[in-house]
């Protein structure tokens, strides 16, 4: 178990290293001369040269990457070339809204998936209905969902605010904060629920149709609720949790869009602004945060899976 964790940690570090190196190279190659971009087309050559020296732009990319990496390891992500605000500060401000949004989306997604799966397993007609709805929802882009929600609940019914972030420290407190988060969470959660449901449903179906331990449970004379609760559901939990973890990576894309639509000052909006203004340090800091988060959450998912599922606990430890 410990060996596995260590192995995974090494893999994690490698992936983060490769991704940041690739991102660093990509961003620096693609963004052209950042000094010219920052100073404008009419800057004097001297001014450009001065900024080059200040930002070490004349060093080879690999050297600059390791400079950056060295700073990162000391907890310094640099300062924004646009606002001159420390990147770490921007990140610590942007993380809480994004984190809350993702938690909210997961709650919505998991609840919907469990409820619809239960319906899909119980009757044939609900199965048809629910899979149809899931396919439809899956075909609606997140920003369209978000706009539809705004049209219904904000502009028509005036039930919910269309601005998605109220700091819990502000006058309204947590109550206002949560009310504001409802629509963004639903918009994002709707995007993940079809995938959750599809996998959960097929896993349970598969068990009911094929697994002999379900037949054995039936042959024991157990009631259907007992068979489902003790012999089917527990065997789906581990896989479901690891799926939630892997889906978190996909959620990031939706976060960018939902934060934009609902004006939530999170990582997604920060990244979008940084891309727009070619703000390399912010971009790289954000990417590093996201990639590290994704890799860690995948590991956590895998570990929880192993904790819960005795099959994996015993057999895959050496894998």
């Amino acid at each position: 178990m410990l060996r596995l964790i260590l192995e995974r940690l090494v893999q994690m570090v490698i992936v983060v290293f490769v991704v940041t190196l690739a991102a660093f190279t990509l961003v620096n190659l693609l963004s052209g001369d950042i000094a010219v971009y920052l100073l404008g087309d009419h800057a004097t050559p001297e001014a450009v040269a001065a900024l080059h020296a200040q930002l070490h732009l004349d060093d080879p990319i690999i050297i600059r990457y390791f400079d950056w990496l060295g700073d990162v390891l000391q907890g310094n992500l640099g300062t924004s070339v646009v606002s001159h605000y420390p990147v770490v500060k921007s990140l610590t401000n942007a993380i809480p809204p994004t984190f809350e949004l993702m938690i909210g989306a997961q709650i919505v997604g998991i609840t919907l998936a469990v409820v619809t799966t239960a319906a899909a397993i119980k009757w044939r007609w609900t199965d048809r209905l629910v899979t149809g709805v899931a396919l439809l929802v899956n075909s609606i882009p997140t920003f369209v969902v978000a706009l539809i929600l705004i049209i219904i609940f904000s502009t028509t019914l005036h039930l919910l605010p269309s601005i998605g972030w109220v700091a819990p420290t502000s006058a309204g407190g947590w109550g206002k904060n949560i009310v504001a988060m409802i629509m963004p969470s639903v918009a994002l959660g709707l995007g993940i629920f079809p995938e959750y449901m599809r996998i959960l449903r097929s896993d349970i179906r598969e068990q009911l149709d094929r697994e002999e331990y379900v037949t054995l449970a039936w042959m024991k004379g157990l009631r259907p609720t007992r068979i489902f609760g003790k012999h089917v559901a527990p065997n789906s939990v581990g896989g479901f949790i690891s799926m939630i973890a892997t889906t978190t990576a996909l959620l990031i894309s939706g976060v960018v869009i939902v934060e934009q639509v609902f004006a939530i000052p999170g990582i997604g909006k920060m990244m979008l602004a940084a891309i727009d203004s070619h703000d390399t340090p912010v971009l790289l800091g954000g990417l590093l945060t996201i990639v590290t988060f994704v890799v860690i959450i995948n590991l956590v998912g895998e570990l929880i899976y192993m904790r819960i599922d005795p099959r994996v606990r015993a057999t895959r430890v050496t894998a």
């Binding site: 490698i14 992936v15 983060v16 490769v18 991704v19 690739a22 991102a23 990509l26 961003v27 693609l30 963004s31 052209g32 396919l135 439809l136 899956n138 075909s139 609606i140 882009p141 997140t142 920003f143 369209v144 706009l147 539809i148 705004i150 049209i151 502009t155 990576a249 996909l250 990031i252 894309s253 960018v256 869009i257 934009q260 990244m271 979008l272 891309i275 727009d276 070619h278 971009l283 954000g286 990417l287 996201i290 990639v291 994704v294 890799v295």
Partner: protein
């Protein structure tokens, strides 16, 4: 890998007699059987109906503006702004610049469809090439390529696409590239897994021991065995690529106004949401109908093919 040196005409489709001798009966038989089951599956109503819907959308978008003799989507009449659908001369109304909405809808669809298919094709070709190369070569090549896929998957997809689209400059080709890179790792992993599955099959081992060139083995034995699965997956990816394209356009980093795409039409319509809701509803509906029809085709096809098995 020697595929690059092979003349194009001698690829999978145009088998010469010499090629036919090393395409073993099993591979060829499988291909024919696969084609037959696919044809049967496509003709079943649950696949054929959404497929017809998608084809109608495609035909309407590409041939519609010419057949209906529609006005240009970008040269608007500023006297006719924000007309509702059903207005004389503008069956679906106009936008804030007086451009014909129907024309914009069809032109915008072209971009969505081109990007959806183009990005999928890009991911499919590059991904399956790399995946099969990894599986076929083994050793260091395999390790490097597979780690590359890992890193690509760890990269938040939309942000990567956003960076590429922004820094390369927003146009159709860069959008295809930016979204296509998304698919490389997914297609690549699938191709790798499928190729690993046939790598040790008898006909491949036999061909190898007979000294058949690697490129021939890959094209003649592996591609036909791996492709059906990849093409099935590609169907799902087209809808996803269209969703991302719309997202990019919506965020202002896809194809730029005034050239219409469904994504940037929705983005532009946001401010006129209460004044002219049709500007938002029409492109959104087209987008959803198209993606839904594609997803239905992919889903039904998968179910059909599962049943055939």
């Amino acid at each position: 890998m020697t595929t690059a040196t092979r003349p194009l005409g001698a690829s999978v489709t145009g088998l010469s007699d010499a090629d036919a001798t090393w395409v073993s009966g099993s591979t060829r038989g499988r291909m024919v059987a696969t084609l037959r089951t696919w044809r049967r599956a496509i003709l079943s109503p649950s696949v054929a109906f959404p497929l017809a819907v998608f084809l109608i959308v495609v035909i309407a978008c590409f041939a519609g503006p010419e057949i209906l003799n529609l006005p240009s989507p970008i040269v608007g009449n500023l006297n006719d702004t924000l007309l509702p659908p059903g207005s004389p001369g503008y069956p679906l109304g106009t936008n804030e610049l007086g451009n014909d909405e129907l024309s914009r809808l069809l032109w915008g669809g072209q971009i969505s469809i081109i990007v959806g298919l183009g990005a999928t094709a890009f991911g499919l070709i590059v991904g399956s090439f790399l995946g099969m190369l990894a599986a076929y070569s083994g050793r260091a090549v395999e390790v490097v390529i597979m780690r590359l896929f890992d890193a690509l998957l760890a990269f938040p997809g939309l942000i990567l696409a956003l960076i590429l689209a922004d820094f390369l400059g927003p146009n159709v080709w860069n959008t295809i590239l930016a979204i296509g890179i998304f698919g490389i790792a997914r297609f690549g992993r699938l191709a790798w897994a499928q190729t690993i599955g046939v790598r040790h099959r008898d006909f491949v081992v036999a061909a190898r021991s007979d000294g058949v060139p690697s490129g021939s083995i890959v094209l003649g034995h592996m591609v036909p065995n791996v492709m059906p699965t990849l093409l099935g997956f590609a169907l799902f990816t087209v809808g996803t690529a269209m969703t991302i394209e719309a997202g990019l356009s919506f965020l202002g980093l896809g194809v730029q106004q005034p050239q219409p795409t469904w994504g940037n039409m929705i983005a532009g319509a946001q401010q006129y949401m209460s004044l002219a809701p049709w500007l938002l509803i029409l492109p959104a509906a087209m987008l959803v109908i198209t993606i839904l029809s594609l997803n239905l085709v992919a889903d039904s096809l998968r179910i059909r093919l599962d049943e055939e098995r």
